[in-house]
């Protein structure tokens, strides 16, 4: 039987999940009755946000030209933060179906994902989707694909995952056009781990693609990256229901279970081999997940009893079972008490984790403003990784401070180029190139510090382009710049959770904006509260919260009792979400004030 391994890649919401469902249905893998919408996405959260976080693999059969094919369909995450995971999933494939929404056209992640696939030498089948919609412009979109990516417009398949139009043709093309798996290079087992997830009942489930040799039920295997060994207790394929098998041969794809307790023990991109007959070299391309964005989570409620921190710990640990790319370690902040400093692959990843903490863990958290990872070279020549501005030593000890620089790709309506250029330049962007990808849309490349993107860049992009702009970014290097640490003093005390790193040229402005925001957030006290922004002992901005002289209701008689009581109860309730710095009470929202750059 012939084997074809392929992925579907697309920009968010371009119909990847619907197309997946339809492909499964058309091969009778899923009956109409069984076809739950978006079969492959199994978390509510993903369904709501319309994105796929976890990849999985499904094996179906299709016959064409009298030949039967085993189609291994490998799902990929759809977002920029999961580039590495996408690249590993693509490594497991020989081909990719590139889906573009015929009502939206080519978007930033269409390009980013297509290039990932091209770099892996995958054969690509362009699909113009959603052609059933009245606003579909399939010919124009096919032409955009040609312009932006060089795939001839006439090669694109027009299809509607909703009505089924074009699906049969797509299946036939997958079989005919995509190459078979490469021939084995050795008899020894080499299987690529391209995804894993945690199942409450079965523990860790690993998805593998066998490149060389055979993987059998009962084998004792070794992960070549981590060196850990496990006995395979189950091998199987999702069709899409799990079906156990005895063995995988070269080119095959499926899942394995081996009593692995936590996802931390499994690295996507690692190579599995037989423990007592190992391959000489692992498959190429393995990388440690690299957290680029950091923030602290603290329990939102009062910590007098300490139980809220334990609740948070439980929730965070539980989440990390499901997501190995999310890191955390306990921290203590004078302002916010005990919490966790958490690392994320990117901004969206951070949003997802916070939302899941809230939803699945039932924990209300205070989140500090996100920061990026910095590399600090000290005078003694040692390079330190800094993920928290508060950890930066005195400026006199620095040799240089380096920050992550991203390649940012924007696809925006050509009419908005005049607005987006200053936005990017104002955030220390360096213009790289610009390309018209259709009559109305332009692709622009910038290099920009990640620190400038993690604030509200994406929101600004969306609002300036009325939602039409899309972006993708990739970290390309660390680079030294004139960076300074700005400390914030409230009533003379440094509030570490408010410290931030900024470029020297706009540190003053950032400091001023932050103090203005803080001034609005902190209630007046019985004494005057000076607010200062300081760089290395030098005050760069100053505000004062005037003292309050009274807090008393003038009139309170029989008819005022109910309303007044509710007001006072509310006043006190609000106070609970305060953190005390010295004798100043700071509301928790104020810790997000660092976010607003006041543009």
């Amino acid at each position: 039987m012939e084997i074809r391994n392929f992925s579907i890649i697309a920009h968010i919401d371009h119909g990847k999940s619907t197309l997946s469902d339809r492909l499964l249905q058309s091969t009778n893998a899923v009956s109409e009755r069984e076809a739950r919408q978006q079969f492959l996405d199994d978390m509510d959260l993903e369904r709501e946000r319309g994105i796929t976080i976890k990849a999985s693999a499904v094996t179906v059969r299709h016959a064409v030209d009298g030949v039967e094919y085993m189609l291994n369909f490998i799902d990929t995450p759809g977002h920029v933060d999961f580039t590495y995971e996408v690249s590993r999933a693509l490594t497991a494939c020989e081909g990719a179906v590139l889906v573009v929404d015929s009502t939206q056209g080519v978007e930033a992640q269409t390009i980013a994902n297509a290039y990932l696939a091209i770099n892996q030498d995958l054969e690509i089948i362009p699909v113009v989707n959603k052609i059933d919609l009245p606003s579909a412009q399939p010919d124009e979109v096919a032409m955009e694909i040609e312009q932006a990516l060089g795939f001839p417009a006439e090669d694109a398949i027009y299809c509607s995952a909703k009505t089924g139009q074009g699906i049969q043709e797509l299946l036939d093309r997958i079989c005919r056009q995509l190459p078979p798996p490469r021939a084995p290079q050795t008899k020894k087992l080499r299987a690529l781990i391209f995804d894993s997830h945690y199942d409450d009942y079965r523990g860790v489930v690993i998805y593998v693609r066998v490149f060389d040799g055979h993987l059998n039920h009962g084998d004792k295997v070794r992960m070549m990256g981590t060196g850990r060994t496990y006995i395979i207790t189950e091998l199987g394929k999702y069709t899409p229901k799990p079906e156990k098998v005895k063995s995988f041969g070269p080119g095959e794809t499926g899942y394995l279970i081996a009593s692995i307790k936590t996802l931390k023990d499994v690295r996507v991109g690692d190579t599995i081999t037989i423990d007592n007959d190992p391959a000489e070299e692992p498959l190429p391309g393995y990388e440690e997940p690299h957290q680029m964005v950091f923030c602290d989570f603290y329990p939102a409620t009062s910590t007098e009893k300490g139980s809220d921190f334990e609740e948070l710990r439980e929730a965070v640990e539980k989440l990390s079972l499901n997501d190995a790319s999310f890191t955390f370690h306990p921290v203590h902040s004078e302002a916010l008490g005990f919490g966790f400093r958490c690392g994320f692959l990117g901004l969206l990843h951070m949003d997802i984790i916070q939302e899941r903490l809230d939803r699945e863990g039932g924990v209300e958290v205070v989140q500090t403003a996100p920061t990026v990872t910095y590399e600090l070279k000290t005078r003694d020549g040692v390079v330190h990784e800094i993920t928290n501005p508060a950890d930066l030593p005195d400026g006199s000890l620095w040799e240089e401070l380096r920050e992550p620089i991203c390649k940012v790709e924007l696809i925006i309506p050509t009419d908005n180029v005049g607005d987006i250029m200053p936005l990017c330049l104002g955030r220390r962007g360096i213009y790289k190139q610009q390309q018209l990808i259709s009559e109305t849309r332009t692709m622009i490349d910038f290099e920009m510090p990640l620190a400038e993107i993690i604030y509200d860049f994406y929101d600004k992009l969306k609002s300036m382009t009325r939602g039409y702009g899309t972006m993708d970014y990739e970290i390309i290097r660390f680079q030294a710049d004139r960076l300074v640490k700005v400390d914030i003093l409230v009533n003379g005390d440094i509030v570490e959770a408010l410290s931030f790193i900024a470029h020297k040229d706009n540190a003053d402005k950032r400091g001023r904006v932050l103090l203005t925001r803080l001034k609005d957030q902190i209630d007046r006290h019985q004494f005057e509260i000076p607010l200062q922004a300081v760089i290395g002992g030098k005050v760069i901005a100053r505000e004062t919260i005037k003292s309050m002289r009274k807090n008393v209701t003038a009139k309170c008689y029989g008819g005022d009792v109910t309303r007044k009581r509710k007001l006072l109860e509310k006043q006190k309730k609000g106070k609970k979400k305060m953190k005390s710095i010295g004798s100043v009470e700071i509301p928790q929202e104020a810790f997000m004030a660092v976010l607003d750059q006041g543009e």
Partner: protein, 420 residues
């Protein structure tokens, strides 16, 4: 004009209920009564009490319904009344003949009315307090008037949209005195936009003269409060004027406390000053969280642990009272709840010089299983010099009256079921 009974904001659902569920079968007797008269000659801009300018004469219909409401609580009044307070609106606008009917009804319903020791206050407007009305009131048992002076400065009166001439206050007080009404209060307002500390000192100076000459034995001095849904607040929002800085307001308050005590009017509540023995006993009923009955639209009552407010709209109130034979439609009903009651005792009691019975407070907290939380909070506030316990009563230290709300909020928060 007026104080004592405000229109609350209905928070939460309005129950289609009337006062019957609270009043019928309640363990009496109740010794205090509040009557609300909603009519005004002019709606003052800072006022958030239920009142309106009565263009169609509804005084008859109002009086008729009021009598029904009083009769319905006849059983609870059997033990006699110790305090009656008639607020508004402008009660002095009610025609003397209708006043006569109300007073007669009280004579009929309440055994021994007006008994010796009764405190019977009626709010008056300097313009509408006619000698005829005051005589009717005095002969019916009224022995205290509360006059809305607000300010003696014509330009500040204008800001407040008060129509009277400053000189009329003294005249009206004299008329009341001549009518035999022995106890007299004036209300003052400070922290009016553009009012300087010197302006306020002038007002206090006039007020102190009235005290010295015996025309008043009690003064209520309120910082102007921008209540939601008042013209004053609207004008503030529109930028017609700016509110007084709170440091000025605090200075004005301290000035009032000093000036009034110098003429023998001591502070016995945040905004109330009286000659010893002239404290308003009716208002003390509120601050002590004792029981009182309510009659009239928008009047609030507190009986057997339940609080309620009569429906504020005159028409709805008349209709409801007539339909049920004396039970007003009620809103903001709060049924008995030990935690709520204890919090209210703190909130109200802390406003007074006499403070709160600490032992009773601790017993209440113990029953709610939060005695330790309360004790922690008290200790912390005592350490900061904000509260003190004298002769078994917990009270604010004198400088802390300006911080009453925050302190009350902390103590109230300690009163939380099972906090220990």
């Amino acid at each position: 004009m007026s104080h004592k009974q405000g229109i609350g904001i209905t928070v939460g659902g309005q129950r289609p209920a009337d006062t019957r569920q609270i009043l019928v079968g309640a363990p009496g007797p109740v010794h205090a009564l509040y009557i609300h008269v909603p009519f005004c000659a002019h709606k003052c801009h800072y006022c958030d009490f239920y009142s309106f300018v009565d263009n169609r004469d509804q005084q008859e219909a109002y009086t008729h319904a009021l009598l029904l409401e009083l009769r319905a609580v006849r059983d609870l009044l059997r033990g006699g009344l110790q305090t009656v307070f008639v607020g508004g609106g402008t009660p002095s606008l009610l025609r003397p003949q209708l006043w006569g009917r109300i007073l007669d009804e009280l004579h009929n319903l309440v055994p021994g009315f007006p008994e010796a020791g009764l405190e019977f206050t009626v709010e008056c407007n300097p313009e509408s307090a006619s000698a005829e009305t005051l005589k009717v009131l005095a002969s019916g048992g009224v022995n205290r008037v509360s006059m809305g002076a607000q300010s003696f400065n014509p330009s500040h009166l204008k800001t407040l949209e008060r129509l009277h001439q400053p000189a009329n206050v003294q005249r009206a007080l004299s008329v009341a005195a001549d009518a035999g009404i022995e106890r007299r209060n004036i209300d003052l307002i400070y922290a009016i936009p553009d009012q300087t500390i010197a302006d306020w000192r002038y007002d206090l100076h006039i007020a102190c003269d009235l005290a010295r000459t015996g025309l008043v034995d009690h003064i209520s001095a309120y910082a102007l409060t921008y209540e939601p849904n008042t013209a004053m607040t609207q004008r503030l929002k529109q930028g017609e004027f700016v509110a007084a800085e709170d440091s000025l307001e605090a200075d004005m308050y301290d000035t009032a406390v000093d000036s009034l005590s110098a003429v023998g009017l001591d502070r016995y509540e945040v905004s109330n000053f009286a000659r010893p023995g002239s404290e308003c006993r009716h208002n003390l009923v509120y601050w002590r969280c004792a029981q009182w009955l309510a009659a009239g639209p928008s009047a609030s009552g507190h009986v057997a642990g339940s609080r309620w407010k009569n429906v504020p709209k005159l028409g709805e109130w008349i209709e409801g009272v007539n339909r049920t034979g004396g039970f007003a439609p009620a809103i903001d009903i709060e049924l008995p709840d030990a935690e709520r009651s204890l919090r209210e005792r703190i909130m109200m009691g802390l406003r007074t010089r006499e403070g709160i019975d600490r032992h009773a407070l601790e017993l209440g907290a113990k029953e709610l299983n939060c005695a330790k939380a309360l004790d922690r909070e008290c200790t912390s506030l005592e350490a900061r010099g904000q509260i003190e316990t004298v002769d078994g009563r917990l009270r604010l230290c004198a400088p802390s009256f300006l911080w009453c709300d925050g302190i009350a909020a902390r103590l109230m928060d300690a009163i939380t079921r099972n906090a220990d």
